[in-house]
Subunit: 800 residues, 2 copies
């Protein structure tokens, strides 16, 4: 497995020496040391578990290492060596990196193991200078646990032991990245209440928003940046899954649509923050909530404060949850205004004592996945002062693209029957405190009614209500730098969300990056195949500490993980429909999918909604696998067209577009189209496999994370590449329904979810046309016959 | 779900007041306070997240509570109340316990929720004395997360905030249990090397054993007890599962048995510990390994040191792993000798600087599950000085009962093909350090050969090799008090292990307790249904701090979790074959199982080993479920006899005994017998369901644990009650094989694994006679016909 590394910054020898001296790794008198003395000292320093001062014990440890099949490091050092073969050096180095002789590598040939794992090798170690360079590179090499060796050492107490001799209360960098020199045993954890300009609960007072801050104790002296995670889940999650809507329901005639309007809440401007010093009271409430994100903790050990807030409606805050609405964005943004010194906050809900973020250097980055990534997009579009960068993972860019698609109610994966009002309740955690409950409940009930009506599950149509929840309309306001991360197999927040915002972001005058991994609704921090956490360290140092470490040139704009080989990443300049050349495929009367010539038949299938599915007691993913494999029982409610085996690999890029001429036996209908790869092989696991659970130390005795990677799994017959759904009543206009006639043909044209998918040689491409998608659409109770005119049906995509 | 509580010690009012004053919960001037003042202060004190000194913020929090459907606590207090209804009090109390209004309970009726969850209620709160008692009981009531409220408060910083005002560096007790008043941000984590009397690696030096110690910083002033976990996995686990033996192999003629002998290793007595003060050097190596056991961490926050050692052959230690042998016991025991001051240890492997456990009060308890529980039994039998108590979970009491049964190779669940030599390699983690590897590997290879030969997988027979690995022979040497914990569904370490040692322990002059839960190979620390962790706190305070807190009378000798209702525990005096009355059942010619009269038929079945199983690609547990359900494909290789439906519930207790008159078509054979409950119902989950993951704080910012419980799961048709296996060649003597003739009948009599199983009314009991157990026995490649003479076949058990 390749431990690819993108965050290593090429560094000249003088800088190497300077940095190693600064962290006391290289002895001050290094120029007077012999080769053997330097080697012993640097190996001993790497063994951070031994107290710095005890030379007997430091030396005793050297007997546990071997330089060859016959010699321990201790006996080798006794020979007073003047140089070292790479094999001798890397036999020791591999042990330091956490590998085990015999079980991982053989002492007879360490270098072939280095190559296999893509670990960097210094080829020539014939003097002290070479040795210092070899160690500099080694400290900045990824260990077996995925972390840089210097981070592994930090996790054993390297910096805790040397705190007296390091420069106090300041950031220390190695190879452009911030080191965990901060004292994690003394982290400050506190709570404050920011005053909003909103009065969503209509009590005549501006809403207070609870903010939880984790910051280094050194921030009492040193101003530090903040990583802010806007998390509506932070106050707790109300489990209401059982209230999900039944999706076993007929489609409504979409012409019932009334275009529900967004309505803004009351505004009551907050008091202005004072600048008088005596008005700055230290917080008095300790944090109870915890950071839910390893990346924040990792950066906290490296000096970056970590800030969490749920904003309106969440536990400890006033107000109502209005999912996706401008009020939600506004309230979450106001936390940044406080961090940046532009808004007032108090020590408690009595609003008596003002408290300021005087520890903050005014540079704020945002982090988080899913809803927490979504709010980054939302806030970034406001252009709020102080927000320098976002690292938005698996984020929604338009709520219509989360709960709806092309005029249909379409569920996020594993969320059949969920909708916006239910998510609002999930996050309305201030209902949990009985005192707040007494006050909020009537307002909350009214808001629920409003959301339930306006989200309009009946018709599934776009409206002003959803328009107000599409952040892409405000993309021009984005001023901060941008990193998006998304799983190409994310069927919860579907890839269209990142794809569409990316098409705008890439044209803005801001630094922008995109990572596409092979996961579902997941983040990619601790993959073996890429040093994402190190890249983020480099990035945040650049953006929030304003250090010119070259982060912006360190890796390409678009990085795409290969779907065949998890430890291979494609380096691209863009992800769009402009990459590659256009190809079209046409269905034939014989069920083939060919590049030349349509079939002429009118092919029909009967859709029975969820009748069979509900009897079968399958999970939705079990159904989907059987369905795409062509299992008879499930395939009969579909049309399928299959290519010959591909002779050469082909990569499909961007959003395939389908045109289908179709008629429904009713005056309504929903059409689904899936693109599937057929072929028996061991594909990658759906989620990464955990390797060495808890094996990554985020700091010194400060929580852990787990290395992981997608791994070849058991043999499967097929894999979904992409799919899409559309309401027949939107054939003329995606934003407006029209009446349709039973038995009449209509031309539907729509794009599927975007992809970047390599079909290996020997596989086949399959186009499936169907109606009910058990995992996502409503499941009508009435039977519907769909007839497809093959002569006017095709699929078109870009390929590489 | 009932939050049963056994660890609450009845306490008089004067003691309540004394204890509440000691922890600063009750104000010093409490006798001058009004009812309302006392109520406000005690609620505010419970809200440990707010700084003690900030009265504005403390009061502001009171608005978040409600006493009724119309009144917040703040407004109620404004009325200067003189007394309180129980409903008003418990509306507030339930919030403090972590429950959520509306979602968990209604303000209109808190008391019915209290009753449903088995939470104690003080019925009358009409004056300050009542109120103090109500709060004392509340602090010692289990919260929603399963912990006592005082522990929840500690997790929010209650004691951290009050450290200055508490008595320094000493244990503080509440209701007989130790409180987490120790400063967990400063825990000392260090490594020492104990010198053994053994030289298992034959290098002419006594083996050094690495010990990792986690202890409160307060132990620099205060002598504290140690909880020692002997864990051969502590240095790391060598993953060699792929080397497991193939079990697709014919039985051997057991007469090939040669009774392999145990051979002792070399002895080289260690140096004597010095008593000179200048010879006591503080440790210089920091711990890298971590505690793997929440109970140790929980007690560490409460002042008890936590000590881990892997002993011979593990990483950082000398020597060879000799699984189950007296050397293993000896080396693991020697750690206690050092803790007790009777053995020498050094700061590193150069043996230059002696270091003593001068922080230890000389009282040692042991904890741990599985192999870690096994070593408790092993060490307890030595009667070593200093060991006061063991809490042995899911432990092996004889290694023959782990890898063998009645003359057969029988695998632990999910370990088909594993054996003692492979477990030795798994734990021989000193092979990982290349310097040690160079020295140890040849000796290790020789020991592997020896183990492979002597464990004798060919015949599966008992021998001197196994005799030396049966700790029960030394049970008379046990001097410490005893707690055993075992899952009644543990098919890894089968219940016979705990049952047989219990029959001896219960007759020794020591305190002894047994917990039998409904899990598999699992521990029970954080169940909803019982306050096990609190019981252990009470127990360790009694045994290791020698405080007379009444722990020994607090709960019955034997506690058995019900298999139908997880939150019900049976309180018993004993678990044996002497409980209840004897019942016999006989198979009939019609496939029934009846109390009167045998069948007369000779019934046969053909065993095909693993032929079908290997083709079917089922997991072993999938096979087992289909098999016990009577699925035709799998049932054909068995005989089955089924009772009528039980009219009244019946509980089977102890070890059912079967007699089977059987012939084999070959001159060898293995017979399996299972007892199964048939009936369609929602049985409990196999493992407990996680509730509020990470929701239990072990101390203040010091790691977490998770509440869990067995829950009604989906409908199943059958459940295995117990089973057993026997080699036909042992019909005459369990410890010696004899030749048998094909076609000749032999009477086998053997006991199944012990149980405590309630058959509900309406269920049926099924006796299954078969041969190959896909999950546990060898799977012969040759076909064998077994014929059972029903006239001499029966099963007999005790029932309640």
């Amino acid at each position: 497995m390749r431990y690819n590394q993108y965050a290593y910054v090429e560094t000249d020898y003088a800088t190497q020496v300077k940095e190693l001296l600064q962290i006391n790794f290289l002895p001050v008198d290094y120029q007077q040391c012999t080769f053997g003395e330097l080697l012993a000292t640097m190996v001993e320093n790497t063994l951070a578990e031994v107290n710095l001062t005890d030379s007997t014990t430091r030396q005793a440890k050297l007997t546990e290492f071997a330089v060859s099949e016959t010699e321990t490091l201790a006996s080798y050092l006794a020979t007073q060596p003047q140089e070292m073969s790479p094999a001798q050096f890397y036999n020791v180095a591999l042990q330091l990196l956490g590998y085990h002789v015999h079980y991982d590598y053989e002492l007879s040939d360490p270098l072939s193991f280095m190559t296999k794992n893509a670990l960097p090798v210094v080829e020539n170690i014939s003097n002290c200078t070479d040795l210092i360079t070899a160690f500099y590179r080694l400290l900045n090499t990824r260990s077996q646990n995925g972390q840089l060796l210097i981070d592994v050492m930090a996790g054993k107490g390297y910096f805790a032991d040397r705190r007296q001799t390091l420069p106090g209360s300041q950031f220390v960098l190695l190879n452009g990245k911030s080191l965990p020199v901060f004292d994690t045993s003394k982290v400050i954890r506190e709570v404050v209440y920011v005053e909003s300009d909103l009065d969503t609960d209509e009590d005549g007072q501006s809403d207070l928003l609870q903010v939880t801050i984790f910051r280094p104790v050194e921030s009492q002296q040193l101003k530090v940046p903040a990583l802010y995670t806007a998390s509506p889940y932070f106050g707790g999650i109300i489990d209401n899954e059982k209230r999900n809507y039944s999706v076993d329901a007929n489609l409504a005639n979409a012409c019932a649509w009334t275009n529900p309007q967004y309505e803004a809440s009351n505004i009551i401007p907050a008091a202005k923050p004072s600048t008088a010093n005596h008005e700055n009271h230290p917080p008095v409430e300790k944090a109870v909530g915890k950071s839910s994100y390893g990346l924040n903790e990792y950066m906290l050990a490296r000096g970056f404060a970590s800030v969490f807030a749920g904003a309106i409606g969440t536990r400890g805050s006033d107000g109502l949850r209005i999912t996706g609405a401008p009020e939600e964005t506004e309230s979450a943004k106001e936390i940044i205004e406080w961090l940046h010194g532009d808004r007032i906050a108090y020590t408690d809900r009595s609003r008596q004592h003002e408290t300021r973020a005087s520890w903050c250097n005014g540079n704020i980055g945002m982090t988080g996945r899913s809803y927490l990534g979504t709010l980054q997009i939302a806030i970034a579009t406001t252009g709020v002062a102080g927000l320098k960068t976002v690292v938005s993972e698996a984020a929604i860019s338009s709520w219509y693209d989360y709960y709806r698609e092309h005029g249909l109610v379409i569920a996020p994966e594993d969320c059949q029957g969920e909708d916006l009002d239910l998510l609002a309740e999930t996050c309305q955690s201030n209902l949990w405190d009985a005192g707040d409950y007494l006050k909020i409940k009537p307002k909350y009930d009214a808001m629920q009614k409003q959301l339930q009506t306006k989200e309009d599950r009946q018709t599934g149509q776009y409206s002003d209500f959803w328009e107000a929840r599409n952040y892409r309309h405000q993309a021009a306001g984005i001023k901060c730098s941008w990193i998006s991360v998304h799983g190409l197999n994310d069927w919860n927040v579907k890839p269209k969300n990142v794809y569409k915002i990316w098409q705008q972001v890439k044209n803005l005058p801001i630094e922008h990056h995109l990572f596409l991994h092979q996961g579902p609704h997941y983040n990619m921090n601790n993959l073996v195949s890429i040093d994402f956490t190190d890249l983020m360290n480099l990035w945040f140092v650049h953006e929030l500490l304003e250090v010119n470490n070259g982060a912006e040139q360190q890796w390409p704009a678009v990085m795409v993980q290969d779907n065949l080989q998890a430890d291979k990443w494609h380096e691209e300049e863009d992800w769009s429909d402009e990459v590659g050349h256009s190809t079209s495929y046409y269905p034939t009367d014989e069920g083939e999918l060919q590049k030349d010539g349509n079939g002429q038949a009118k092919a029909a299938f009967i859709d029975q909604g969820g009748v069979e599915f509900n009897k079968a007691h399958l999970t939705e993913s079990e159904w989907q696998y059987k369905f795409i494999c062509g299992d008879d029982k499930w395939a009969k409610a579909s049309l399928r067209f299959i290519t010959d085996e591909f002779i050469h690999p082909v990569t499909i890029v961007g959003r395939p577009e389908v045109t289908v001429r179709v008629s429904s036996s009713l005056n309504k209908g929903q059409l689904s189209v899936a693109l599937v790869e057929l072929g028996d092989r061991r594909r990658l696991t759906a989620t990464p496999k955990f390797l060495m659970r808890g094996g990554q130390e985020l700091g010194f005795r400060f929580g852990t994370d787990t290395l992981q990677e997608f791994m070849p799994d058991k043999l499967t017959h097929a894999k979904l590449i992409t799919k899409g759904h559309m309401n027949l009543q939107n054939y003329a206009d995606m934003k407006k329904p029209v009446a349709i006639e039973p038995g009449q043909f209509y031309d539907l044209t729509f794009k599927l979810q975007p992809t970047y998918y390599q079909l290996p040689a020997g596989s086949k491409l399959c186009l499936i046309i169907y109606s009910t998608d058990q995992a996502m659409t409503k499941r009508p109770l009435e039977e519907t016959t769909y007839t497809v005119d093959l002569s006017a049906t095709a699929i078109k995509f870009k390929q590489k």
